[in-house]
């Protein structure tokens, strides 16, 4: 690789040509403060915090964007640099609510950290805050435009990564805001509530709707039997939220922590993930045999479901009719489990711990009440669970490992890998192969569908019958596959789509930051945990087998249809235009 020599703060470094000053400084062990910069996103150079002095330049240059050149001399800490940085941060703070103590991002805020780091100790400009109210119109997210610092990370994620485009800069100059079109709230536009915006927001301008209060209230209610389910991705991310390194697998501690919070039963969504494979796998086989709509597409990810409902409503017949594992769990908790435990389902309160904000939207969809009650009562994201654990003073890393409760806590590695992109596909293939061929797989690892590549393909030989599958994560990638279907160019039989980049481990409710590197570490943790499981195929889950024996009968049976399957709603992309017609 071609390299150039640059001098930064008197230190010479040899760095690859075309490196930015920021990268070169890091190579020299010098940390330049940044704000709008995010390693996974396009360089924006808007906040003007990372400015540095480049000899020969009249003005300061942004380290995040400026490429180095041979012989360049850079000063990252001159008086002019310090003053410009401080003034810029002071300007942002003067236009900010300054209610840090009660902000949801208190002590986890990039602006707050920066102000401290740069030594901003007084705010000399009059305090002015954009007089805009909080937008609480969606069940999943809260927008607080008064806190927005206009870094536009959310805009990029929403447009470029997810291809949704719900938010965009509006107006100009001092009046600029980031908002949906037409001056309406987020709930009125085609937002899928994936929460990827909340994951990149440096401050408290977009965050999850908080369910912790209602969960505390349920836990305190002596008449309520409160059960909790944990999504596959939580065990590889809650540790991070509690201060451990990314990629730590903390299943046992998490179970213990939840018991200490006071949940009556600690169950596992991995159980209903195994169940999903049984239902969805048989649905695929049925469609293959009976000539149903193909390719069949997975339906576990509620952000993805809302996306296809808004953007590709004509393709809804391609979706599997299976409810997501969260909703299957809820429906069974208030029927099968209630019956088995002899508890009135009216008194059962189901809490989900999810890596996802869209799950908050999903659980309040009107069709998710097949048990006769809301199948799921409250959804906590990983971040909210972290807040509850901190509030209750639980020392997470010191906890002993504990086991899930029976029967809805028993699962296999197949259910666990739902947390990573490609996991549903791999779990389905493990089961479908063995069901169709009657043979045992030599290797359970379908590595073609693993990893962070945007769209992955694989072909499986089911004893002479070839099945072609595809996996996409991130809605921008999903769109590409949908367009292929529309153009008649998708020769797949089965497609897995996860709304968020990396799958659920990269969900909008996950710890902040969630970078590409961290996503990869969580994925590695998922497959490490899978490899260590005694059972790794959904059809071998004894609790699932018992469930069919005792309650459901058979996959796709009548009871399954009633409790575990659902239908979808065509939604509009353009509400005003639709209202006109």
């Amino acid at each position: 690789m071609e390299t150039v020599k640059v001098t930064i703060d008197g230190r010479e470094v040899q760095v690859p040509k075309n490196s930015t000053i920021l990268a070169a400084a890091r190579a020299a062990g010098i940390e330049i403060p940044t704000l709008c910069y995010n390693e996974d996103l396009d360089v924006k150079g808007m906040c003007r915090v990372c400015v540095v002095e480049v000899e020969g330049s009249r003005t300061l240059q942004t380290a995040c964007s400026q490429p180095v050149s041979d012989g360049m001399v850079v000063h990252t800490n001159s008086a002019r640099v310090r003053q410009a940085r401080r003034v810029n941060v002071e300007l942002l703070l003067s236009n900010h609510p300054q209610d840090c103590l009660s902000c949801i991002r208190n002590q986890r805020c990039e602006l707050q950290t920066l102000a401290d780091q740069l030594g901003v100790r007084e705010l000399r400009f009059p305090h002015r805050v954009r007089a805009e109210e909080k937008d609480i119109s969606t069940p999943a997210l809260v927008r607080d435009p008064s806190k927005c610092i206009l870094c536009r990370r959310c805009v990029e994620v929403c447009h470029q990564v997810q291809g949704v485009g719900a938010l965009y800069p509006v107006n100009r100059g001092f009046d600029t805001t980031i908002a949906p079109a037409g001056g309406v709230d987020l709930g009125s536009v085609a937002c899928v509530q994936c929460g990827q915006c909340s994951l990149v927001c440096p401050v408290g301008a977009i965050y999850e709707q908080d369910h912790t209060e209602r969960v505390w209230a349920a836990l305190a209610d002596p008449d309520k039997h409160v059960v909790v389910q944990t999504a596959p991705a939580i065990r590889v991310s809650i540790g991070e939220e509690m201060g451990l390194e990314p990629g730590a697998v903390t299943t046992g501690q998490m179970v213990a922590a939840l018991r200490r919070l006071g949940f009556d039963k600690v169950f596992d969504t991995d159980f209903s993930a195994d169940l999903t494979i049984m239902e969805e796998g048989h649905e695929l086989l049925e469609r293959l045999e009976k000539g149903g709509t193909l390719p069949m597409i997975t339906s576990c990810s509620p952000g993805w479901i809302k996306y296809i409902e808004h953007f590709y409503p004509d393709l809804l017949p391609h979706l599997s009719t299976c409810k997501s594992p969260q909703q299957m769990f809820g429906a069974l908790a208030k029927t099968y489990y209630a019956e088995k435990a002899g508890i009135d389902p009216a008194n059962i309160y189901v809490v989900s711990i999810m890596p996802c904000t869209a799950k908050k939207f999903e659980c309040q969809r009107p069709e998710m009440t097949d048990s006769g009650y809301p199948d799921v009562d409250a959804v906590l994201t990983t971040r909210e669970l972290g807040r509850m654990l901190r509030e209750s003073g639980i020392k997470f890393s010191d906890l002993p490992e504990e086991e899930y409760d029976d029967p809805l806590g028993i699962s296999t590695g197949a259910g666990l890998i739902f947390g990573a992109t490609g996991g549903v596909m791999e779990a389905a293939l493990r089961t479908v192969y063995e069901v169709v061929t009657g043979e045992t797989l030599a290797s359970l690892d379908f590595t073609d569908v693993r990893g962070l590549e945007g769209i992955k393909e694989a072909e499986v030989d089911l004893k002479g019958k070839k099945v072609k599958v595809a996996v996409a994560h991130g809605l921008g990638n999903a769109r590409k596959l949908m367009d292929l279907i529309n153009e008649g160019k998708a020769d797949y039989q089965f497609i897995e789509i996860m709304c968020c980049p990396g799958g659920c481990i990269g969900g909008g409710g996950q710890p902040i930051p969630t970078t590409r590197e961290i996503r990869q570490k969580r994925i590695n943790a998922i497959y490490r945990a899978d490899a260590g499981m005694p059972l790794r195929k959904s059809h071998e889950n004894p609790a699932v087998q018992t469930l069919y024996k005792e309650f459901l009968g058979k996959p796709l049976g009548e009871k399954s249809h009633h409790l575990l399957h659902t239908q979808y709603t065509k939604r509009v992309k353009y509400p005003e235009k639709a209202a006109e017609v």
């Binding site: 003005t59 964007s65 810029n88 300007l91």
Partner: protein, 546 residues
């Protein structure tokens, strides 16, 4: 073309039109018809003739007599006396310096123009802008022919480089150098963009060039296209400039009809065509990368540089963006050579500059003078001094993003580098003269009001800073600011100049920074509750500062 014994040029520049040039022209035509002259004398609407303050203006050729401040009822006398009998109507003749008696008889040797040197405005007011024939008759499209048939693209770039021509949009970047970045790049598509998004307050030179001589810009774009290997030109023009847009469209259509645009121009195999696109009201789109964003159908927000447009511009393709006035210089440079161009103006900045003179100055309007002319020569010479017996307080050169220069700078030669060293800018050539009845705080507040309205809102220092400076100067004007505000203004201005993303934010505080240097006392007195000029209503008037 039939022969006319005389031409009457009626200035149809916007200032004259506002003053009733339309009615004057109608009356003229009526009177000529009554006198039966319509077959032998031709009436032509032209672009700006210059002395806008004294409009409506007409010039009668071949004598070149300029009449000013005309009313429709004057036309009968001009037709009867001048056009029929050949006698100049003395009392209507334009007098450049008020109160002095000597009227100007010939346009060529009149006092108004004798300090001027017309390169860019060579055709403005002399030809019918809607007539490609007249443009050609005055040497138009000869430069394009010379370049295409007698020069290699490299030679064209070299000639422009050697001429020392610098961008007239404001930054003063050497034009030939700009072209030389784009020329060697291999690309399936390159673009020439003419930046006609003239928004700098007090600047209307580009509009008058386009209204008065649209072909000169089209010809220059074709030459630029040949030089750098681009076959597509785009003129991005302010949406408010209705007349310029119409004239450009007609000019491009005529050039196309005559084979001067389109395929295989002059049989050389060179293809070039232009498209006219309009802005929608955003000052920042004068910044070349914001302009490109706007052309791509986006918010006009400046891009980070590098990459520079010369390498990756419109749709990621190599793009040369040149200002209208810059381009209008190109055909004469190609025809007359780099040496000729260097003989005008100064060593570092050859050529002429078109200035718009505004504010408290006797002769408002447009002039073209050699680079390096002093403020004093412009204000007290061509400009006719300061009216109403007031004294000179300051001049802001370069438009609202320029600095405020007090009388110590009156003898400063005006070119890019000298003005930049003084903390101001040559910029677009707007020259705002402010007399001593005005208050510096009130003036600065007006500057900042402009910028906080026009900041695109992308980067922190400009978005928040322009608003805060406006707020701080409002506080000073309202008597609500303390002495420490000056330190804050200084720090903020410096941060904006040093760390804003584009030229808008970097130059927005120039007026403030220079005013803090030269008028600090007046600003501080506001903090103490006094407005020496007696302008700020909330404050008491102290004894007048001289």
């Amino acid at each position: 073309m039939s022969y006319f014994r005389a031409h009457v040029l009626v200035c149809a520049g916007t200032p004259c039109m506002l003053k009733g040039a339309g009615a004057v022209k109608d009356a003229l035509c009526r009177e000529m018809e009554r006198a039966g002259l319509q077959e032998e004398i031709r009436v032509v609407e032209t672009g700006c003739l210059g002395p806008c303050d004294d409009g409506p203006v007409i010039v009668v050729y071949p004598e070149g007599v300029m009449y000013s401040k005309l009313k429709p009822e004057d036309m009968s006398r001009i037709v009867q006396q001048h056009l029929l009998k050949g006698r100049v109507v003395e009392e209507l003749v334009y007098r450049p310096e008020k109160g002095k008696t000597k009227p100007v008889v010939s346009l060529e040797d009149q006092g108004y123009l004798d300090r001027q040197y017309r390169v860019v405005l060579r055709n403005c007011g002399r030809i019918d802008p809607d007539s490609i024939e007249e443009y050609i008759a005055n040497g138009g499209y000869e430069a394009l022919g010379k370049a295409l048939t007698g020069m290699t693209p490299e030679q064209v770039v070299e000639t422009v480089k050697a001429s020392g021509l610098r961008g007239r949009g404001g930054a003063g970047f050497p034009t030939g150098l700009k072209w030389s970045f784009t020329a060697p790049i291999t690309a399936d598509q390159k673009y020439i963009i003419c930046n006609a998004d003239e928004g700098e307050p007090g600047t209307f030179k580009d509009r008058l060039i386009l209204e008065g001589d649209p072909h000169s810009v089209i010809e220059a774009m074709a030459i630029a296209g040949y030089a750098v290997g681009a076959d597509k030109g785009i003129i991005y023009i302010r949406g408010e400039y209705h007349l310029s847009i119409e004239r450009l469209q007609r000019a491009a259509a005529r050039a196309r009809e005559m084979g001067l645009l389109g395929k295989d121009i002059f049989g050389t195999g060179f293809n070039f065509d232009v498209e006219i696109r309009t802005g929608a009201g955003a000052y920042v789109c004068g910044e070349e990368t914001a302009l490109i964003e706007s052309l791509e159908g986006k918010r006009g927000e400046p891009r980070l540089k590098p990459p520079y447009p010369g390498v990756a511009g419109l749709w990621g393709k190599p793009t040369v963006v040149n200002n209208v006035e810059t381009l209008a210089n190109i055909p004469p440079i190609i025809l007359k050579g780099a040496e000729w161009f260097r003989s005008i103006g100064t060593e570092r900045t050859p050529g002429t500059k078109v200035f718009t003179m505004l504010g408290d100055i006797a002769n408002q309007g447009l002039i073209e003078v050699p680079m390096g002319i002093t403020l004093r020569e412009v204000i007290y010479g061509v400009g006719g001094g300061i009216p109403n017996g007031r004294g000179f307080k300051l001049a802001q050169t370069g438009g609202t993003s320029g600095g405020c220069l007090p009388k110590e700078f009156l003898d400063l030669p005006m070119d890019y580098d000298t003005l930049a060293e003084a903390g101001s800018a040559l910029g677009s050539g707007a020259l705002l003269v402010i007399d001593d009845s005005h208050c510096i705080v009130d003036v600065l507040r007006s500057f900042m009001k402009f910028f906080q309205h026009e900041s695109c809102g992308q980067c922190t220092p400009c978005r928040e800073g322009t608003y805060r400076l406006y707020e701080l100067f409002s506080a000073l004007a309202d008597g609500k600011a303390g002495q420490d505000v000056v330190k804050l203004i200084k720090e903020l201005s410096q941060a904006m100049q040093l760390s804003s993303l584009c030229g808008l934010g970097q130059s927005a505080p120039n007026g403030v920074v220079t005013a803090l240097k030269y008028f600090e006392d007046e600003i501080l007195r506001h903090a103490a509750g006094e407005c020496p000029a007696g302008v700020c209503r909330a404050l008491t008037t102290a004894s007048r500062a001289v």
